[in-house]
């Protein structure tokens, strides 16, 4: 998923006709001063850190300024600050407005019902999780139809707006729905949707774009989200790669088997550090790349657990043997291999002729992995 920073989310909203404040993104104090002096954003302004974590208001990531001097010192204080592990690099400047009411509006997927679900609340500006069920209106949206008039009426009743905002609501709901579908979003959220001088304005924007629809939206490919650098390389190579807290590297094929492998390791006191899912492949080169990527993560020991289906055991064995010749000595790690399924015997032969023992029992191999890790740590070997 690609989580868009607020300003990018608002840019999506603007394209779909959802009213937003007139704002500017700045990356330096000089830029901020220029934006205000030129009148692009009039004083007083609100300065919002463009980070993805929530709780910005309470955490000092949203501040105000009434003069250019004050703005510059606020900007200097905020740029580079750490907010829940993210470094603030961009700030959004918007005019400070007199907010009347604050409402909540979002559309996300309801996995159980297999339809998108619009959620609205007359109580916005707070975390949605803090609201009780009777404060929320839930409207399932059929993907072929969009929002029907009676469904919009349910939202209108929850909001009980006065004109002109009441007249604007229907169009805004349609725009939000079109943005959700048109951008292949996992989530579009306006919190708060504010009433400013009688009109509806999206004061915040949270937009999450789905990865799988990237072929329709190449513009989102450049936006980095919360991946680590190695996770980013893995993504480019279409290998599912997740970094966790431990030291053991796990290479398996298929998400379910990978998770089960982590569970079994945890049972024996092993702490997985990297989770690498080969997926379905019959290309030994992809296996080699996966191993080289794993080596970069500097695991204490690697557990290869393969059940051969689409991915045949001999393919994995060939890729693995090729990788072992390419890993630099400094990055070498003990390996426990467990292979089952298609071409299991062939795979075992290839591994054994390269000096790698292949086991077949999952429980026994997981124990061997944990033993190998203890041995390595006990001997003072570098992790």
């Amino acid at each position: 998923m690609v989580k868009l920073a607020e300003w990018r989310g608002k840019e999506v909203f603007r394209r779909y006709g959802i009213p937003i404040p007139t704002g500017r993104v700045i990356r330096s104090a000089a830029e901020a001063a220029e934006v205000v002096r030129s009148g692009a954003v009039p004083l007083p302004v609100v300065v919002k850190a463009q980070v993805l974590a929530g709780g910005r208001g309470k955490g000092g990531a949203v501040r105000f300024a009434t003069t250019v001097e004050e703005l510059q010192s606020v900007v200097l204080a905020m740029l580079g600050m750490d907010f829940k592990g993210e470094t603030v690099k961009e700030l959004l400047l918007e005019p400070k407005v007199a907010v009347g009411r604050e409402l909540y509006l979002s559309i996300a997927l309801d996995r159980s019902a297999r339809v998108p679900l619009l959620i609205a609340s007359g109580t916005g500006g707070v975390e949605i999780e803090s609201l009780s069920d009777d404060q929320l209106v839930r409207v399932p949206v059929h993907p072929f139809v969009g929002l029907a008039a009676y469904e919009k009426l349910r939202v209108a009743e929850a909001f009980s707006l006065a004109p002109p905002a009441s007249k604007e609501l229907g169009g805004l709901l349609d725009s939000l729905w079109r943005a959700f579908q048109g951008e292949d979003a996992e989530l579009v959220e306006i919190n708060p949707l504010a009433v400013v001088e009688g009109h509806l304005v999206a004061l915040d924007a949270k937009v999450i774009i789905e990865d799988d629809a990237g072929f329709r939206h190449p513009q989102y490919a450049e936006i980095r989200d919360d991946r680590t650098p190695l996770e980013e390389i893995a993504r480019e190579k279409e290998i599912a790669f997740v970094q966790l807290d431990g030291d053991i590297g796990v290479i398996a094929n298929g998400a379910g088997l990978t998770m089960a492998t982590l569970d079994v390791l945890a049972q024996f006191g092993g702490r997985p550090g990297v989770f690498l899912d080969l997926g379905g492949t019959d290309d030994p080169n992809k296996v080699t790349e996966a191993f080289l990527l794993m080596a970069k993560a500097r695991p204490s020991v690697v557990f290869l657990n393969i059940f051969g289906g689409v991915t045949r055991c001999d393919t994995v064995a060939k890729g693995l043997v090729a990788a072992m010749t390419q890993v630099p000595d400094s990055d070498r790690f003990p390996l426990v291999a467990r292979i089952r399924g298609n071409n299991e015997d062939l795979g075992r032969q290839i591994l054994e002729s390269a000096g790698i023992t292949a086991l077949s029992d999952l429980q026994a191999s997981a124990q061997a992995v944990v033993e190998a890790e203890k041995l390595r740590k006990g001997s003072g070997g570098s992790p």
Binding site: M1, L109, R111, S112, R114, V115, P116, E129, H142, P143, F144, Q181, D184, E186, E210, D211, D212, A213, F215, R216, A240, V242, L244, D245, A252, N253, G254, A255, G256, L257, T258, M259, A260, L262, D263, V264, L265, A266, Q267, P272, F275, D277, G279, G280, D282, F307, G308, G309, V310, R340, G341, N342, D361, L362, Q363
Partner: protein, 294 residues
């Protein structure tokens, strides 16, 4: 009777000329499946492993009587391939393709519902009924005819568990891999009644994963409606919150979708929940003995 497929199943392979399409056509045929047609637009008239290729599903259906489709076409084209199959009168589509945008899948699911076409998948290993037919990519070696039904959200983990059932001398009636995507055509709750009604199934193995609430809903259904014993395993007990564990659907968000909640819901519904995948076969044998079925 088996579930969804049987010896009358006539399969059309959409995307048969692609690498995976060809490889699995061979495997399905070796399993004994009647693979009667392939479809790749523009390649009509060709043959793949003795299977005639047509330009459209409608043509394949008209010429060969195909009634089930397995879809291997790349994700950007999968939606249209499914719509085509549906319009050609196919009543069951097994979608192997991974990385289909969920918005496309929403369209496919709703369209299939309107037109009466059942989807298994996407991003799934498909269906196998030993001795009858296999539609999808589950390795042939894991199967053995028997009376255990398997429903799973996983791929390789399903193979692991199905293989384990074989290795303790039991066999399977039908195995269905539902896929682990956020939107699936068939959920546990959709599939459970088929196994309850299937006269060839004595026990159901349910293989779940963290993320979503499909297992909790299955537990509710099992509690209300299932008379057959259930053995379950849930992968991802040690997964941290907020990390997507490979499958797009496998993520613990805001404490929801944890293995603990799924395991406890299933236990309360009367299912036996295995701690590890390799514990499943013994628990299956035990529940069958208790039910006087072995």
């Amino acid at each position: 009777m088996s579930v969804l497929v049987d010896s009358d199943t006539r399969v059309v392979v959409q995307g048969i000329t692609g690498h995976q399409g060809t490889v699995h056509t061979v495997q399905m045929k070796l399993f004994g499946t009647q693979v009667v047609a392939g479809v790749t637009p523009g390649k009509g008239g060709a043959q793949v492993e003795g299977v005639p290729v047509f330009n459209s599903v409608a043509e394949a259906v008209a010429r060969t009587g195909a009634n089930v489709s397995v879809i291997f076409v790349p994700a950007p084209f999968a939606r249209d391939a499914f719509i085509e199959a549906t319009d050609a009168g196919i009543h069951l589509a097994v979608i192997v393709t991974e990385h289909i945008p969920f918005h496309d899948m929403l369209t496919m699911y709703q369209y299939g519902r309107l037109r009466g076409t059942r989807i298994i998948g996407p991003n799934c290993p498909g269906i196998g009924a030993p001795g009858k037919a296999k539609v999808g990519i589950i390795p042939n070696v894991v199967f053995r005819p028997g009376r255990v039904g398997v429903i799973s959200r996983s791929g390789t983990l399903t193979y692991e568990i199905v293989n384990g059932i074989k290795e303790v001398g039991l066999g399977q009636s039908t195995c269905i891999g539902l896929g682990g995507d956020p939107v699936v055509g068939t959920s546990f709750v959709d599939a459970l009644p088929w196994f309850e009604q299937d006269s060839e199934t004595d026990l159901v193995v349910l293989v779940g994963e963290i993320g979503g609430t499909a297992e909790e809903e299955a537990a509710e259904y099992i509690h209300q409606h299932l008379t057959k014993p259930v053995v379950a395993y849930i992968a991802g007990r040690s997964a941290p919150e907020g990390k997507r564990m490979g499958h797009a659907g496998a993520i613990i968000a805001r404490g929801r979708g944890t293995a603990a909640s799924k395991r406890s819901a299933l236990q309360q519904a009367g299912a036996t929940v295995a701690d590890f995948p390799y514990d499943v076969p013994a628990l299956v044998a035990q529940r069958l003995r208790e039910a006087g079925r072995r």
